[in-house]
Amino acid sequence: MALCLMLGGCGVLHRGFLSPAGPVAAATRDEFLWICLVMLFVIGPVVILAPLMAWYYRLANTRRVYRPQWGFSWPLEGLIWIPPSLIVVGLAVYLWRDTHRLDPYRPLPGQAIEIQAVALDWKWLFIYPTEGVATVNRLVIPAGRPVHLSLTSGTVMQSILMPRLVGQIYAMAGMRTQLNFEADAPGTFLGENVQFNGPGFQDQRFEVAALGAQAFGQWLTAIRARPERLDAAAYATLARRSTLSHPLAFGAVAPGLFGRIIAETVRDGAHEGHALAARGMGQP
């Protein structure tokens, strides 16, 4: 039964980055597996040795050697300090490279589509500045084309995670953070906020729909035809604390809304400082 459970249960891993649907998640999975492999050699000896040692040298086993005064050996010291250090040095080199390679701010090759995400209580607003449309709780992206997501928050700090596509980045009020990702093929994926932000937190999930180039074009056309317009008043309504039962879409967006949302929370020039601080963790 346990086996059935394991086999059936492991299906859940298809929901996460171990079943990637884009290049970033795929690279993350590869790194994960690689580190797991290396670490097996590190933890293997301990996991085997600790119980083995305790069992073999148990009091009842009278055939084992007893050396109560033995407490130091140079070769052993070398063995427990040097190889782990070397492994960490190796991992460090690897980590340095991959942290840069998989930096969420690093643009992916190709012509990226620009999308701006605003974290609200308890929903996600996605603005397509070039296309002049916006959606709520549904992120539609063209498959096979990189996406450049700029994030901010109209409320408390939140964290966006699309497990099968890309890892998370915080969205913070008055600041802009960025995320680059891509979906390999058309499909629908889960997106969610994973930073607790109040009673509606568990409902703050959205569907990521990756569409083929043609379908994406059709979607854009359809959405542009919609009468709803996202202006300051509509945004103010949207920004109120609430959960939505279904996604929304806006056929038009007031230009520069994203920038104004950032500026709204920071009333003077200080916010460039914040945005820079968000990037460099300190005074610009």
């Binding site: 859940v12 996460g16 052993l76 427990i80 782990p84 607790f196 709204e264």
Partner: protein, 695 residues
């Protein structure tokens, strides 16, 4: 002045709606009923305890022998008792959390979101600040002066103040169950969510003041422990002759001194925002919540090692004692401990790799984090080599140590995964992270604390704990951990967010059910600990170990009677080498009367610590509910007590030499009459605490 104004001055923002019973009456939902039930348990429990104490006429005894005591041993025991109470509450909350997630799959489950958020917030805050910290402070308090051959801590009065501040904070946590509601912002209380703009209620205020009291209490404990180890060691006990537990306690104390202020600053500045309308962490007006995140983790990461190092110390003592062998690689362990303490201050940023800083910064902190793995790994190998060619007795503390080595290594494995920024991006804030830190905190810290409790219990109370129930408990703690948290690793890798009150994916159900079973098993572990305590107290006469050395152990703490006299040592021992007592036993140097018995000066009981603790809790309560007179009056009481104490000159008492000699001679007679027990029989009733040793 009309009526409502007077009430507002007297009671601040308090109203009927603050009581969960009233809320449950108005809205009898399951969630509110659970809240009311929890409140009732606190009230009924408090009333029952008070009634029981009155019935048993124990008030005077408790007040004179315990509450006002400045004896480090009693303070240590009170710390651990507090930890036990808080562990029970927080573990019940953990079971509720797991029940909620396992039942709320496309369903509302037991508790509504706001209540659920309080559950995970109190669970985290209690486990860290009011379970782990008091537990380890209690162990250190009890053991360290005995291990270094001192009669008390360097500052016995400060010790009492620290204890009662912590108790005050814990009391605020308990009161929040009955009056008002606790924070929903998680144990880390990130603003701007915890700011007035988003959380106008009293919850975050409860959190702020409870944590601040604990933080100040821990700072005093850190100063005290560090000063004790620096200045109070017995003659001849050089640095490299200290037991390993003293080393880890010293490093923990130093880390407390440096790492607690950031927490105090973070909570006080958040309070400045909430109470004085300032803009440290607000959205807008120049506030910057990133400062809070940095401050919090500047405390939070060293805190992780503040917690784990004493547990490492316990393992060092336990593995060596129950392997009948000296600790392998003592110097290595000292270096590794110090290295961990230093490195722990350089890695705080790994708690927010996802805040958008540059890849250079993330990579640097990721590498620093991995680097900690090296000294930690060294320690684990040192314990393995300590068992090598030893005579290992698989007692409950030893079983916990072995389970720790395996479990903690698995946690290290996932720790390296989370230390890699690209992997952290996908796993941060998911159940993977939750599983990882529970892996470290249960498999590392809690096993160590319980092992320490079982190991030193006979020393503190003079009788051994029941071994059978000990084993049952160990099995529950170990199996429960794996059942509860291995599924969370899987769910986290599948992208399930932490702290979510409802789950929408039915595929998660089997894993959540297993995790629920695990939580129940862990709870069974706690229950069996209590059963063990009960059974052991019941059978205490058969299991007495008055001579004081039931395990043939090595440190000075085993060289005195069990329980030790208030003055610890009839004469301060001279220490010639590491494992002093072990060698004294083998060189016929143990169990001899002192050359001369002297009068011993000990700190006198003082009520000041209790007064300050109670006043601090009242001050916190007044601040939470904006009852300004109460806050001001309490502050005034604290101030006056402190000043009054500085005028007191009659703060010590003298134990006459005759009393010391009489006690010592009686104990030595017991030791002479006792039957030396071989290791094979140490769990049987013939163990009177005198070890049969082979030279």
């Amino acid at each position: 002045m009309n009526g409502p104004d007077i009430w507002h001055i007297l009671l601040g923002n308090l109203g009927w709606g603050a009581l969960p019973f009233v809320r449950a009456w108005r809205d009898p939902s399951v969630s509110e009923l659970i809240g009311a039930a929890a409140g009732s348990v606190v009230v009924i429990g408090a009333v029952a305890v008070l009634a029981l104490l009155t019935w048993a006429k124990a008030w005077r005894y408790l007040w004179t022998e315990w509450a006002t005591s400045l004896d480090h041993k009693k303070i240590g025991i009170m710390y651990i008792a507090l930890a036990g109470v808080m562990l029970t509450r927080a573990l019940i909350e953990a079971v509720l959390i797991r029940t909620q997630q396992a039942t709320a799959i496309n369903a509302p489950g037991l508790v509504e979101p706001g209540h659920f958020a309080q559950l995970f917030t109190t669970h985290g805050s209690i486990m860290i600040f009011f379970m782990a910290m008091p537990f380890l402070t209690g162990l250190i308090n009890y053991v360290v002066p005995l291990q270094i051959g001192a009669r008390d801590m360097a500052f016995p009065y400060l010790n009492s103040v620290g204890l009662w501040l912590t108790v005050g904070g814990a009391a605020l946590m308990m009161v929040s169950l009955v009056i008002g509601a606790f924070s929903t912002g998680g144990w880390s209380g990130y603003p701007p969510y915890t700011e007035l703009a988003f959380n106008p209620g009293v919850g975050p205020d409860y959190w702020i003041w409870a944590v601040t009291l604990s933080s100040v209490g821990s700072t005093t404990a850190g100063i005290n422990i560090a000063c004790t180890i620096y200045k109070m060691r017995a003659p001849g006990m050089g640095w490299m002759r200290m037991p390993m537990f003293c080393w880890t306690s010293l490093c923990t104390a130093i880390m407390m001194i440096f790492a607690m202020p950031p927490l105090t600053v973070a909570t006080l500045l958040l309070a400045a925002d909430r109470y004085a309308g300032m803009h440290f962490f607000t959205n807008g007006h120049g506030g910057d919540m990133m400062n809070y995140v940095n401050l919090f983790w500047l405390f939070g990461h060293p805190e992780v090692y503040i917690l784990i190092l004493p547990a490492f110390g316990v393992y060092s003592e336990v593995v060596s004692a129950f392997s009948s062998k000296e600790l392998y690689g003592y110097t290595s362990l000292v270096i590794a401990t110090a290295a961990i303490a230093v490195l722990s201050f350089t890695v705080w940023l790994h708690h927010f790799f996802t805040m958008g800083q540059s890849a250079d910064v993330n990579a640097a902190f990721g590498i620093a984090t991995m680097a900690i793995g090296v000294p930690t790994g060294v320690k684990i190998y040192d314990w393995i080599w300590t068992m090598f060619r030893g005579r290992v007795r698989l007692t409950p503390p030893m079983l916990l140590s072995i389970a720790f080595m395996v479990t903690f290594t698995l946690g290290g494995f996932t720790g390296i995964i989370l230390a890699t920024p690209p992997l952290d991006y996908v796993l941060h804030n998911t159940l993977f992270l939750v599983a990882h830190f529970h892996n470290m905190l249960i498999g590392g810290l809690l096993y160590g604390l319980i092992a320490g409790y079982m190991y030193w219990f006979p020393k503190a109370f003079g009788f051994r704990l029941n071994e059978r129930w000990g084993r049952i408990s160990v099995v529950c703690w170990v199996a429960g951990f794996y059942l509860a948290f291995m599924p969370l690793y899987v769910l986290g890798a599948a992208g399930m967010a932490r702290r979510t009150q409802e789950v929408f994916d039915p595929a998660f159900r089997p894993w959540l059910l297993i995790a629920l079973c695990g939580a129940a098993t862990l709870f069974a572990g706690l229950i069996s600990l209590f059963v063990q305590l009960y059974v052991s107290i019941r059978d205490r006469h058969a299991n007495r170990v008055p001579v004081g050395d039931p395990w043939d152990a090595r440190g000075l703490e085993w060289s005195v009677a069990a329980p030790p006299p208030e003055w610890n040592f009839a004469s301060i021992p001279h220490v010639g080498r590491l494992d002093a007592f072990y060698w004294r036993k083998r060189n016929e140097g143990a169990y001899h009367p002192a050359d001369h018995y002297h009068d011993i000066e000990l700190p006198k009981e003082s009520a000041c610590g209790v007064i300050i603790g109670v006043a601090a809790a009242a001050c916190g309560f007044g601040l939470v509910w904006h009852i300004w007179w109460m806050a001001a009056l309490s502050l005034f009481v604290i101030f006056v007590t402190t000043i009054a104490r500085s005028f007191m000159r009659d703060v010590t008492k003298i134990i006459p030499a005759e009393t010391v000699e009489a006690f010592d001679r009686e104990w030595l007679a017991q030791a002479r009459a006792a039957h030396p027990v071989p290791r094979q029989l140490e769990q049987s009733e013939i163990n009177e605490g005198l070890a049969e040793w082979i030279a």
